[in-house]
């Protein structure tokens, strides 16, 4: 039998018992809807999480640390470097080598220090962190009031709106363009006493990296006049990076030039290794190149971390979540499957005579089987279609509900439920598939009917 005849007969048969087949189809659609709603929720949550991470501007970033540092956090990783003491240091030459790697656009250290600003004779404490010039593209600067740093070593600061309110509660915006005094601790090298020179602070504090301070250093109080040029609402990088957790933001180059002392500097004084970096942040041309840059830096003997690594475990988590959501969603579909089997078995019983007639006038067993299959498939198709619509409605309701909830908690509404196009196709295909499987038994039962028995005159 040809395709259009099969379809025509199947639809005609389905319309013969509208109520029963309609109810079965609705049953399927409820199953599909619950599956779609659940899976879309999984997709939506995953996209939400991924979007947060992407907004953090970390997808094109590789974090580099020396294997000498951060030992014992990751045993697996530690095993890659059997002699961490002899691992290369993240020093100035290493930084230059990394900068030379292809696809690397920026290499900056992570710097975060304690500082104080005086304004109108009152001092305010705040963490000062260094931002690279690329931070301008971060979503936090979309709401920038004022300007971004004019250069990487400008004496300019951007501060958080909340901090500005602390400085000037009446008119925080008035701070823009004002010069204020920033107090910080400078790292000053001590000269070695082995050479006989006096153990006093060396005067050279010019270039980044500073003079050789492998013997030791002093932390000396310093002040620097800086100009407030910008106000931002939220911490950059979604507050997910060391350099973003602060209230006062300086160009990282300025911080290096001023040789600001960091907590982590203690460790180099322990080892006598002189100035080196705790963490270098490497920006890559595009997220697709992250892996190759990461590999190249690993080759140089350093430890690297990127959000790519984090998303790997995130993806694993969401796969498991999707699986569970899918299983819950499938329960309703399993019930719907039983409904299809029941409906079709009833149809076979009811249409015994008709099946016999069809066989007598030339239908093969295969034709009969295909006809019931097509009926099952058609119910699956329409159930799937209806289920998508229903699932879509449920999802919209979820979004509206969470939106209201988030707004009540003064949070921006975000869609947690997203119906991707592939899921529409997949749900209908799956619905048809499930229906066909459900049709297996009724169809073969119909095909096996003995026409002689069914046509006996009663």
């Amino acid at each position: 039998m040809k395709g259009y005849d099969l379809l025509d007969l199947a639809v005609r048969n389905l319309r013969q018992s509208k109520l029963r087949n309609g109810l079965t189809t609705i049953g399927i659609s409820v199953g599909v809807a619950s599956l779609v709603a659940m899976l879309s929720l999984g997709v939506g949550l995953q996209q939400l999480a991924t979007k947060r991470l992407a907004g953090s501007g970390m997808f094109d970033t590789v974090f580099v640390t020396s294997r000498q540092d951060f030992r014992g956090f990751d045993k697996e990783d530690d095993a890659k470097a059997p002699n961490p003491d002899r691992a290369p240091l993240l020093d100035e030459p290493a930084r230059r080598n990394i900068t030379k790697l292809p696809n690397v656009t920026e290499v900056e250290p992570e710097m975060r220090v304690m500082g104080e600003v005086s304004y109108n004779g009152v001092t305010h404490f705040g963490f000062v962190t260094g931002l690279p010039m690329s931070a301008k593209e971060n979503e936090a600067f979309e709401a920038l009031k004022g300007k971004f740093f004019s250069s990487n070593d400008a004496n300019e600061i951007v501060i958080l709106k909340d901090f500005a309110k602390e400085l000037n509660p009446k008119d925080p915006d008035a701070l823009l363009g004002q010069e204020i005094t920033l107090r910080y601790g400078e790292r000053q090298a001590l000269s070695t006493d082995t050479s006989g020179r006096p153990g006093m602070a060396a005067q050279d504090n010019g270039s980044s990296g500073g003079p050789d301070d492998s013997y030791g250093f002093s932390v000396v109080r310093k002040t620097q006049a800086v100009k407030v040029i910008g106000l931002i609402e939220e911490e950059p990088y979604g507050g997910m990076r060391t350099v973003s957790r602060g209230r006062i933001f300086l160009p990282v180059g300025t911080m290096e030039r001023l040789n600001m002392a960091q907590f982590t500097d203690m460790r180099s004084s322990l080892r006598g290794t002189g100035k080196n970096y705790m963490t270098l942040t490497v920006r890559v041309k595009n997220p697709g190149k992250v892996q190759s840059v990461q590999d190249a830096i690993n080759q140089m003997g350093f430890r690297t971390f990127s959000v790519l690594d984090a998303t790997k475990s995130l993806r694993r988590f969401f796969t498991v979540l999707d699986l569970f959501l899918g299983i819950f969603g499938s329960l309703a579909l399993a019930v719907a499957t039983l409904a299809i089997i029941n409906t079709l078995v009833m149809a076979v019983l009811e249409r015994r005579r008709e099946i016999g007639v069809m066989k007598a006038i030339g239908a093969s067993d295969g034709d009969v089987k295909k006809l019931f299959f097509t009926e099952a498939g058609a119910m699956g198709f329409f159930g799937g279609l209806l289920g998508i619509v229903l699932g879509f409605a449920i999802g919209k309701a979820i979004n509206v509900g969470t939106g209201i909830y988030l707004q009540r908690h003064q949070l921006p509404a975000e869609p947690v439920w997203i119906l991707p196009p592939w899921l529409i196709g997949a749900a209908i295909a799956f619905s048809i598939l499930v229906s066909l499987v459900a049709g297996l038994y009724p169809a073969s039962r119909a095909a096996r009917l003995d026409p002689v028995q069914t046509l006996k005159y009663e």
């Binding site: 039998m1 040809k2 259009y4 005849d5 007969l9 005609r12 013969q16 005579r353 008709e354 016999g356 007639v357 069809m358 066989k359 007598a360 006038i361 030339g362 239908a363 093969s364 067993d365 295969g366 034709d367 026409p451 002689v452 046509l455 005159y457």
Partner: protein
Amino acid sequence: MSSEANLRSRVAVRTESVCRHYRMGDSLIRAVDGISLDIEPGEFIALLGQSGSGKSTLLNLLAGLDRPTSGSVVVHGRDLASMSSEELARYRRNDVGMVFQAFHLIPSMKVTENVELPMRFAEVDRTERVDRVRESLERVGLAKRMEHRPSELSGGEQQRVSIARALVNRPSLLLADEPTGNLDSRTGEDILNLIRDVSLSLGMTVVMVTHERALAERFAQRFIFLADGKLQSQEVRA
């Protein structure tokens, strides 16, 4: 051509000691029990016998709806017993037309759709179907009732539709199982007239099961009497 060869070529259907036995509980029912029979092309044959004599079972064997327990049913040189169920289905839709006592039309389908149904299984092109449905219905004199449903027709009309359906794939063998059993005697006569006319004009072989001997004698050329699944006697109309 010798008379022997001439005879052989003139056999449309041949059964050779065909048996159809089945079990019912502990007992073995010999519904058809070793019947050998030659039917010539274009012949109109009546199978007569009491109910339970095996005439319907024999008809089902000829129709390829049932398989013989032993023996063979050879139609146009092919043994139905050795065919696969797919081949039997093809045989039924291309070579056989069936007419039943209870008409067996599909109630949800219009007259035209009922007549079209065998062509769906035979995969006849759709453009061709409309003409063939009309042609078939005209042949049985029902061209004006095409859009009706079976339930809106009289018994005689329904039987005409089922004959039109049996003819539509242009079979060479028309098998009728008590075609007049549900009709009054006048209508029954009309139906048999129709069957005889179409078989003559289309050159079809007709095998009809009936127990109305008087009626059969007016139409059939040969009468085959069955009893207990065995061929009891044959008569050729004078």
